[in-house]
Symmetry: C2
Subunit: 340 residues, 2 copies
């Protein structure tokens, strides 16, 4: 475990359950106690602020850099599948608090702090992924009330899942077919093609960010290391810095483009930890901001939910150009501190 990261609170005795949907052939997670979870508390009641030794928040410390602990209201595990327990009595749902400063956002963190987050993500991937019942370690952040956030304090989440979730599975299956047909990684081919397309947002430092050709969200961005690495622990030290700078650059570009602290989902896709499909996995980070214009949201509604087909009211070539223009006002990666 990374020295800056400590494990504190345990789960609050919930009993989540996984059920298999025979119609869509997917697992759905049930966790009844979450419905009463803490909802947008006032700043002085924030459970993620340091409350000092013996304090009542989730972090009874005077201060911290980054802290990870089990979610008090876990969506997953210790799971019961069809009435049978399938996990040891730890949830595998972790909260990762980015800073002790309640009012910051990811975009406002120092590159050193983001570098530390990358380290913690890699560590939790290894530790949680080594459990026999864990098939996939999913690292993500929901930012903003538009994305359903219930605590404003900057934080992300880690779910250790006992199955490879559908989106990851779809990508891995597609990668397997592409590998069999061409002998190459689907993501390597895709990222290389997008880097040379009008959908490229920025590249350099061995990284490329682009609005994908078939983006579901107007300002969706995918961020890839161009080198084929399957998961965060495979990144070399300079690549970890490059990833940190690039993550910050995406978040800052959104804020610059929209003119406010923009909400988003940040989703990290890595190789499953159960050994399946590893050769096809290519580490990447997907960002989904919910805005289709600064004054309008895109809703996930009838077509997306009931049919599974996404409708995007913008063209990736247009939104990528807007993000490139906004990015010019950012610090370019080479201007950010390079501590190695």
């Amino acid at each position: 475990m990374h020295p800056n990261q400590r494990r504190l609170a345990g789960p609050a005795g919930t009993k989540p359950e996984l059920r298999f949907d025979a119609l869509r052939q997917e697992w759905v997670a049930f966790a009844g106690e979450r419905n009463e979870r803490t909802f947008l508390p006032s700043t002085d009641q924030c459970p993620l602020c340091p409350s000092g030794p013996g304090g009542s928040s989730e972090v009874p410390l005077s201060d911290f850099e980054v802290v990870a602990f089990e979610n008090r209201f876990p969506a997953l595990g210790p799971d019961w599948v069809n009435g049978h327990p399938v996990r040891p009595p730890t949830s595998g749902c972790e909260v990762l608090v980015y800073t002790s400063d309640h009012d910051l956002t990811f975009a406002a963190l120092s590159v050193e702090r983001v570098r530390l987050l990358v380290e913690v993500w890699a560590d939790r991937y290894r530790v949680l992924g080594s459990r026999p019942e864990v098939a996939y370690v999913y690292v993500f952040e929901n930012k903003g009330v538009e994305m359903g956030v219930t605590l404003h304090h900057p934080h992300g989440q880690i779910y250790a899942m006992p199955f490879v979730p559908p989106v990851a599975a779809a990508e891995l299956r597609a990668g397997e077919r592409h590998m069999r047909r061409t002998g190459r990684c689907l993501h390597c081919d895709d990222a290389g093609r997008e880097a040379a397309s009008p959908r490229m947002v920025f590249q350099g430092d061995g990284m490329v960010a682009f609005v994908p050709e078939a983006a579901r969200w107007p300002y969706e961005v995918h961020l890839y290391p161009l080198r084929h690495v399957s998961a965060l622990p495979d990144l070399a030290n300079p690549e970890r810095w490059a990833l940190s700078r690039s993550l910050l650059r995406v978040a800052k570009t959104y804020d610059q483009h929209f003119g406010f602290s923009a909400p988003y989902v940040m989703a990290i896709h890595q190789a499953p930890t159960d050994g399946s499909w590893s050769r096809n996995a290519h580490l990447h980070v997907e960002f989904y901001p919910p805005h289709r214009r600064p004054d309008r949201l895109k809703y996930v509604a009838g077509v997306e939910i009931g049919a599974g087909t996404w409708v995007n009211d913008t063209y990736p070539e247009t939104t990528a150009a807007e993000l490139r223009a906004a990015g010019l006002d950012n610090s370019a990666p080479e201007e950010l501190p390079s501590p190695w």
Copy 2:
């Protein structure tokens, strides 16, 4: 075409495009002009109200019962796939206005009006489905600003899709496997099992409504005719009345339970019209209300979007009991008018 249904406005010259997402192996629909579409206009500017002969709304009539016309801001078609046109110059995206009364909701319609909607849905399924380029006719309603509705006037939508969309395809594939293994319809088995479970909300009249065992939304309801019919045109006359009464009952139960006119997505799943998988299709209607409590929404966020796994903060057995209790205050189906 049904006599009460007239075709009026044509598409406004948009050029939607379908792109294939090689990573998730799904089509995504792009339609740039929709981003500037009419957004929550004042009642006197409503494009779905009758504006009289020569009027400026989409319906230049003095009055109407139900009216269907092509969406001025279609999400699909005439589609361009990777730069090549794949459809005739009609969109296959239709708006279906439920009533000339701006202030009604589906739940407030008469059973005769809902019966007429069933007739129009069946008619459009046949007419649109007979086009060679159409594989699936998807009928749905987004209700409420929480579901992204941009026009309050009560209306639904019909998308004639040139592919079988992912959710329908997943159900049909699961049905195919179940049929091969057991010789029976997956949906017949499932609906029969749910009808005898604590998740049943109501049954009778040859119909059953339940919160599915693996519901993604807290108050999700699936409504089935118990007889195996693959699409709306296969329903006999008494079954069309039974479906109309049951649809109203679901919508009224939501309003009664939540204490306000509840938002939802209503999605009708039927057989594809390209001839594929028909023996496994079983007509049903899925409702997804976004509330997890009367004062809180469920958000589709990081786990759902980035991993494809749904987290439900309630148990279907609990929410079904709540809906049954609310339903006791509704008119029972047998007390509604039975005009045959």
